[in-house]
Symmetry: C2
Subunit: 158 residues, 2 copies
Protein backbone atom coordinates (compact mmCIF):
# COMPACT_ATOMS: atom_id res chain seq x y z
CA UNK A 1 0.00 0.00 0.00
CA UNK A 2 1.78 3.09 -1.30
CA UNK A 3 0.71 6.74 -1.30
CA UNK A 4 0.01 6.59 -5.06
CA UNK A 5 -2.56 3.82 -4.42
CA UNK A 6 -4.11 5.55 -1.42
CA UNK A 7 -4.46 8.99 -3.03
CA UNK A 8 -7.96 10.06 -4.02
CA UNK A 9 -9.12 13.01 -6.11
CA UNK A 10 -9.80 16.09 -3.98
CA UNK A 11 -11.07 19.54 -4.90
CA UNK A 12 -8.39 22.18 -5.28
CA UNK A 13 -8.37 25.92 -5.83
CA UNK A 14 -5.61 28.17 -7.10
CA UNK A 15 -4.22 31.14 -5.18
CA UNK A 16 -5.82 33.57 -7.62
CA UNK A 17 -9.25 31.92 -7.75
CA UNK A 18 -12.20 33.87 -6.42
CA UNK A 19 -12.89 33.30 -2.71
CA UNK A 20 -16.62 32.99 -3.48
CA UNK A 21 -15.89 30.10 -5.86
CA UNK A 22 -13.85 28.40 -3.12
CA UNK A 23 -16.78 28.87 -0.72
CA UNK A 24 -19.18 27.33 -3.26
CA UNK A 25 -16.82 24.38 -3.76
CA UNK A 26 -16.65 23.76 0.00
CA UNK A 27 -20.42 24.12 0.28
CA UNK A 28 -21.28 21.78 -2.61
CA UNK A 29 -18.87 19.04 -1.57
CA UNK A 30 -19.49 19.58 2.17
CA UNK A 31 -15.77 19.63 2.80
CA UNK A 32 -14.03 20.83 5.96
CA UNK A 33 -11.40 22.47 3.79
CA UNK A 34 -10.06 22.80 0.28
CA UNK A 35 -6.51 22.31 -0.92
CA UNK A 36 -4.87 25.44 -2.34
CA UNK A 37 -2.38 24.75 -5.10
CA UNK A 38 0.17 26.81 -6.91
CA UNK A 39 0.53 25.33 -10.37
CA UNK A 40 -0.18 21.67 -11.11
CA UNK A 41 1.99 20.08 -8.45
CA UNK A 42 2.61 22.42 -5.56
CA UNK A 43 0.21 22.23 -2.63
CA UNK A 44 0.45 25.57 -0.88
CA UNK A 45 -2.08 25.54 1.94
CA UNK A 46 -5.27 24.07 3.30
CA UNK A 47 -8.08 26.62 3.38
CA UNK A 48 -10.54 25.56 6.10
CA UNK A 49 -14.25 26.28 5.64
CA UNK A 50 -14.17 27.85 9.11
CA UNK A 51 -11.67 30.43 7.84
CA UNK A 52 -14.11 31.55 5.15
CA UNK A 53 -16.90 31.72 7.75
CA UNK A 54 -14.58 33.89 9.81
CA UNK A 55 -14.26 36.35 6.94
CA UNK A 56 -18.04 36.71 6.78
CA UNK A 57 -18.34 38.01 10.32
CA UNK A 58 -18.04 41.81 10.49
CA UNK A 59 -15.11 43.05 12.55
CA UNK A 60 -17.29 44.88 15.07
CA UNK A 61 -19.03 41.59 15.90
CA UNK A 62 -15.74 39.74 16.30
CA UNK A 63 -14.81 42.44 18.83
CA UNK A 64 -18.16 42.32 20.62
CA UNK A 65 -19.91 38.99 19.95
CA UNK A 66 -23.03 40.06 21.85
CA UNK A 67 -23.84 42.23 18.82
CA UNK A 68 -24.31 39.06 16.73
CA UNK A 69 -27.74 38.52 18.31
CA UNK A 70 -29.09 41.84 17.01
CA UNK A 71 -28.20 41.36 13.32
CA UNK A 72 -31.43 40.79 11.44
CA UNK A 73 -32.20 38.04 8.93
CA UNK A 74 -31.93 40.33 5.91
CA UNK A 75 -28.39 41.28 6.88
CA UNK A 76 -27.50 37.62 7.49
CA UNK A 77 -28.53 36.83 3.91
CA UNK A 78 -25.93 39.29 2.68
CA UNK A 79 -23.03 38.05 4.81
CA UNK A 80 -21.42 36.22 1.88
CA UNK A 81 -21.01 39.52 0.03
CA UNK A 82 -17.97 40.01 2.25
CA UNK A 83 -16.14 37.52 0.01
CA UNK A 84 -16.90 39.38 -3.23
CA UNK A 85 -13.73 40.46 -4.97
CA UNK A 86 -11.46 38.57 -2.60
CA UNK A 87 -9.05 36.00 -4.01
CA UNK A 88 -8.12 32.76 -2.28
CA UNK A 89 -4.69 34.20 -1.43
CA UNK A 90 -6.41 37.03 0.48
CA UNK A 91 -8.27 34.51 2.64
CA UNK A 92 -5.39 32.41 3.89
CA UNK A 93 -4.46 33.07 7.50
CA UNK A 94 -0.97 34.55 7.70
CA UNK A 95 0.02 31.70 10.01
CA UNK A 96 -1.46 29.01 7.72
CA UNK A 97 0.89 26.04 7.88
CA UNK A 98 2.09 24.45 4.66
CA UNK A 99 0.07 21.31 3.95
CA UNK A 100 1.62 17.93 4.65
CA UNK A 101 3.00 16.43 1.46
CA UNK A 102 3.84 12.78 0.89
CA UNK A 103 5.84 11.26 -1.90
CA UNK A 104 3.99 8.90 -4.26
CA UNK A 105 6.17 5.99 -3.09
CA UNK A 106 5.68 6.54 0.65
CA UNK A 107 4.20 3.59 2.55
CA UNK A 108 1.00 3.64 4.61
CA UNK A 109 3.09 3.70 7.78
CA UNK A 110 5.07 6.70 6.54
CA UNK A 111 1.84 8.53 5.74
CA UNK A 112 0.34 7.68 9.14
CA UNK A 113 3.53 8.94 10.79
CA UNK A 114 3.46 12.18 8.80
CA UNK A 115 -0.21 12.70 9.66
CA UNK A 116 0.39 11.94 13.31
CA UNK A 117 3.37 14.27 13.61
CA UNK A 118 1.69 17.18 11.84
CA UNK A 119 -1.78 16.45 13.34
CA UNK A 120 -3.00 17.03 9.82
CA UNK A 121 -6.44 15.90 8.62
CA UNK A 122 -5.04 15.19 5.17
CA UNK A 123 -1.83 14.65 3.25
CA UNK A 124 -1.30 15.74 -0.35
CA UNK A 125 0.46 13.15 -2.54
CA UNK A 126 2.90 14.49 -5.08
CA UNK A 127 4.81 12.58 -7.72
CA UNK A 128 8.09 14.35 -7.88
CA UNK A 129 9.79 14.93 -11.21
CA UNK A 130 13.15 13.21 -11.58
CA UNK A 131 15.88 15.44 -10.21
CA UNK A 132 18.33 17.04 -12.54
CA UNK A 133 19.37 20.43 -13.84
CA UNK A 134 17.38 19.95 -17.05
CA UNK A 135 14.16 19.12 -15.19
CA UNK A 136 13.15 21.84 -12.76
CA UNK A 137 9.45 20.76 -12.92
CA UNK A 138 7.90 20.82 -9.45
CA UNK A 139 6.05 17.51 -9.66
CA UNK A 140 2.45 16.50 -10.09
CA UNK A 141 -0.33 16.36 -7.52
CA UNK A 142 -1.79 12.84 -7.54
CA UNK A 143 -4.49 13.48 -4.97
CA UNK A 144 -5.05 13.53 -1.27
CA UNK A 145 -5.18 11.00 1.57
CA UNK A 146 -7.53 12.01 4.37
CA UNK A 147 -7.14 10.60 7.88
CA UNK A 148 -10.51 8.85 7.57
CA UNK A 149 -9.56 7.27 4.24
CA UNK A 150 -6.30 6.04 5.72
CA UNK A 151 -8.24 4.52 8.64
CA UNK A 152 -10.61 2.95 6.12
CA UNK A 153 -7.75 1.23 4.32
CA UNK A 154 -5.82 0.27 7.45
CA UNK A 155 -8.99 -1.35 8.80
CA UNK A 156 -8.71 -3.78 5.91
CA UNK A 157 -11.15 -2.27 3.43
CA UNK A 158 -10.22 -2.35 -0.26
Amino acid sequence: MRARDLAEPYPTVALDDQALDAARLLAVHRLPGVLVVDGPGTPRALLPASQLVRLLVPGYIMEDPTLAAVIDEAHADRLCEALTGLRVRDCLPTDAPAPSVADADDTAVEIATLMARTRSPLVAVVERAPNGPRNPAPGRLLGVITASHLLHRLLGNP
Copy 2:
Protein backbone atom coordinates in the same frame (compact mmCIF):
# COMPACT_ATOMS: atom_id res chain seq x y z
CA MET B 1 -32.50 30.89 10.04
CA ARG B 2 -31.97 29.53 13.55
CA ALA B 3 -29.58 26.85 14.81
CA ARG B 4 -32.44 24.35 15.15
CA ASP B 5 -33.14 24.70 11.40
CA LEU B 6 -29.49 24.54 10.42
CA ALA B 7 -28.60 21.50 12.55
CA GLU B 8 -28.07 18.24 10.70
CA PRO B 9 -27.70 14.70 12.03
CA TYR B 10 -24.07 13.81 12.72
CA PRO B 11 -22.47 10.59 13.96
CA THR B 12 -21.67 10.53 17.65
CA VAL B 13 -19.85 8.15 19.96
CA ALA B 14 -20.01 7.86 23.73
CA LEU B 15 -16.98 8.14 26.02
CA ASP B 16 -17.12 4.42 26.83
CA ASP B 17 -17.57 3.20 23.26
CA GLN B 18 -14.80 1.11 21.74
CA ALA B 19 -12.15 3.13 19.91
CA LEU B 20 -12.23 0.61 17.05
CA ASP B 21 -15.94 1.30 16.55
CA ALA B 22 -15.22 5.04 16.45
CA ALA B 23 -12.53 4.40 13.82
CA ARG B 24 -14.98 2.34 11.74
CA LEU B 25 -17.58 5.10 12.00
CA LEU B 26 -15.07 7.71 10.80
CA ALA B 27 -13.93 5.41 8.01
CA VAL B 28 -17.41 4.52 6.75
CA HIS B 29 -18.71 8.10 6.76
CA ARG B 30 -15.36 9.57 5.63
CA LEU B 31 -15.53 12.14 8.38
CA PRO B 32 -12.67 14.35 9.60
CA GLY B 33 -13.88 13.77 13.16
CA VAL B 34 -16.66 12.38 15.28
CA LEU B 35 -18.55 14.10 18.07
CA VAL B 36 -18.08 12.54 21.51
CA VAL B 37 -21.12 12.84 23.76
CA ASP B 38 -21.75 12.18 27.41
CA GLY B 39 -25.38 11.23 27.73
CA PRO B 40 -28.05 12.38 25.26
CA GLY B 41 -27.34 16.09 25.30
CA THR B 42 -23.82 16.86 26.42
CA PRO B 43 -21.19 17.21 23.67
CA ARG B 44 -17.86 16.52 25.35
CA ALA B 45 -15.23 16.62 22.62
CA LEU B 46 -14.45 16.29 18.95
CA LEU B 47 -12.32 13.23 18.22
CA PRO B 48 -10.39 13.91 15.00
CA ALA B 49 -9.61 11.02 12.65
CA SER B 50 -5.99 12.19 12.72
CA GLN B 51 -5.90 11.52 16.48
CA LEU B 52 -6.84 7.88 15.91
CA VAL B 53 -4.20 7.62 13.17
CA ARG B 54 -1.73 8.99 15.69
CA LEU B 55 -2.54 6.18 18.11
CA LEU B 56 -1.73 3.61 15.42
CA VAL B 57 1.84 4.74 15.00
CA PRO B 58 4.21 2.91 17.36
CA GLY B 59 6.01 5.17 19.84
CA TYR B 60 9.48 4.28 18.52
CA ILE B 61 8.46 5.53 15.06
CA MET B 62 7.05 8.77 16.45
CA GLU B 63 10.46 9.29 18.08
CA ASP B 64 12.40 8.36 14.95
CA PRO B 65 10.20 8.78 11.83
CA THR B 66 12.92 7.40 9.54
CA LEU B 67 12.01 3.97 10.95
CA ALA B 68 8.56 4.23 9.31
CA ALA B 69 10.11 3.39 5.95
CA VAL B 70 11.36 -0.01 7.13
CA ILE B 71 8.05 -1.34 8.50
CA ASP B 72 6.85 -4.06 6.17
CA GLU B 73 3.38 -4.42 4.63
CA ALA B 74 2.35 -7.28 6.95
CA HIS B 75 3.04 -5.11 9.98
CA ALA B 76 1.13 -2.19 8.41
CA ASP B 77 -1.94 -4.43 8.08
CA ARG B 78 -1.90 -4.95 11.83
CA LEU B 79 -1.54 -1.28 12.82
CA CYS B 80 -5.22 -0.98 13.79
CA GLU B 81 -4.74 -3.63 16.46
CA ALA B 82 -3.29 -0.78 18.53
CA LEU B 83 -6.87 0.40 19.11
CA THR B 84 -8.12 -2.94 20.43
CA GLY B 85 -9.43 -2.64 23.96
CA LEU B 86 -9.17 1.15 24.02
CA ARG B 87 -12.25 3.21 24.78
CA VAL B 88 -13.02 6.55 23.18
CA ARG B 89 -12.15 8.31 26.45
CA ASP B 90 -8.64 6.79 26.25
CA CYS B 91 -8.12 8.31 22.79
CA LEU B 92 -8.96 11.93 23.50
CA PRO B 93 -5.94 14.21 23.67
CA THR B 94 -5.52 15.58 27.18
CA ASP B 95 -5.66 19.08 25.70
CA ALA B 96 -8.79 18.38 23.60
CA PRO B 97 -10.87 21.54 23.67
CA ALA B 98 -14.57 21.28 24.53
CA PRO B 99 -16.62 21.42 21.33
CA SER B 100 -18.39 24.63 20.41
CA VAL B 101 -22.03 24.45 21.45
CA ALA B 102 -24.83 26.65 20.14
CA ASP B 103 -28.29 27.08 21.55
CA ALA B 104 -31.19 25.93 19.36
CA ASP B 105 -32.43 29.53 19.09
CA ASP B 106 -29.11 31.07 18.05
CA THR B 107 -29.12 32.91 14.72
CA ALA B 108 -26.91 32.14 11.73
CA VAL B 109 -24.78 35.18 12.56
CA GLU B 110 -24.32 34.01 16.16
CA ILE B 111 -23.24 30.59 14.90
CA ALA B 112 -20.84 32.11 12.38
CA THR B 113 -19.38 34.28 15.15
CA LEU B 114 -18.96 31.29 17.47
CA MET B 115 -17.31 29.29 14.68
CA ALA B 116 -15.04 32.19 13.77
CA ARG B 117 -13.95 32.85 17.36
CA THR B 118 -13.26 29.20 18.17
CA ARG B 119 -11.90 28.37 14.67
CA SER B 120 -14.05 25.31 14.97
CA PRO B 121 -15.01 23.16 11.96
CA LEU B 122 -18.39 22.42 13.53
CA VAL B 123 -20.80 23.56 16.20
CA ALA B 124 -23.04 21.21 18.18
CA VAL B 125 -26.62 22.43 18.61
CA VAL B 126 -28.25 21.71 21.95
CA GLU B 127 -31.81 22.41 23.01
CA ARG B 128 -31.49 23.31 26.62
CA ALA B 129 -34.04 22.11 29.12
CA PRO B 130 -35.98 24.94 30.80
CA ASN B 131 -34.08 26.18 33.82
CA GLY B 132 -35.40 25.50 37.27
CA PRO B 133 -34.54 23.54 40.38
CA ARG B 134 -36.93 20.77 39.42
CA ASN B 135 -35.40 20.27 35.98
CA PRO B 136 -31.70 19.54 36.12
CA ALA B 137 -31.81 17.76 32.71
CA PRO B 138 -28.80 18.72 30.60
CA GLY B 139 -30.62 19.32 27.33
CA ARG B 140 -30.85 17.44 24.07
CA LEU B 141 -28.43 17.31 21.14
CA LEU B 142 -30.28 18.37 17.99
CA GLY B 143 -27.39 17.88 15.59
CA VAL B 144 -24.37 19.64 14.24
CA ILE B 145 -23.67 22.58 11.94
CA THR B 146 -20.46 22.22 9.98
CA ALA B 147 -18.66 25.25 8.56
CA SER B 148 -19.32 24.03 5.02
CA HIS B 149 -23.03 23.55 5.70
CA LEU B 150 -23.24 27.05 7.15
CA LEU B 151 -21.52 28.41 4.01
CA HIS B 152 -23.99 26.39 1.92
CA ARG B 153 -26.96 28.02 3.62
CA LEU B 154 -25.46 31.51 3.76
CA LEU B 155 -24.80 31.28 0.02
CA GLY B 156 -28.56 31.14 -0.41
CA ASN B 157 -29.12 27.40 -0.78
CA PRO B 158 -32.19 25.87 0.86
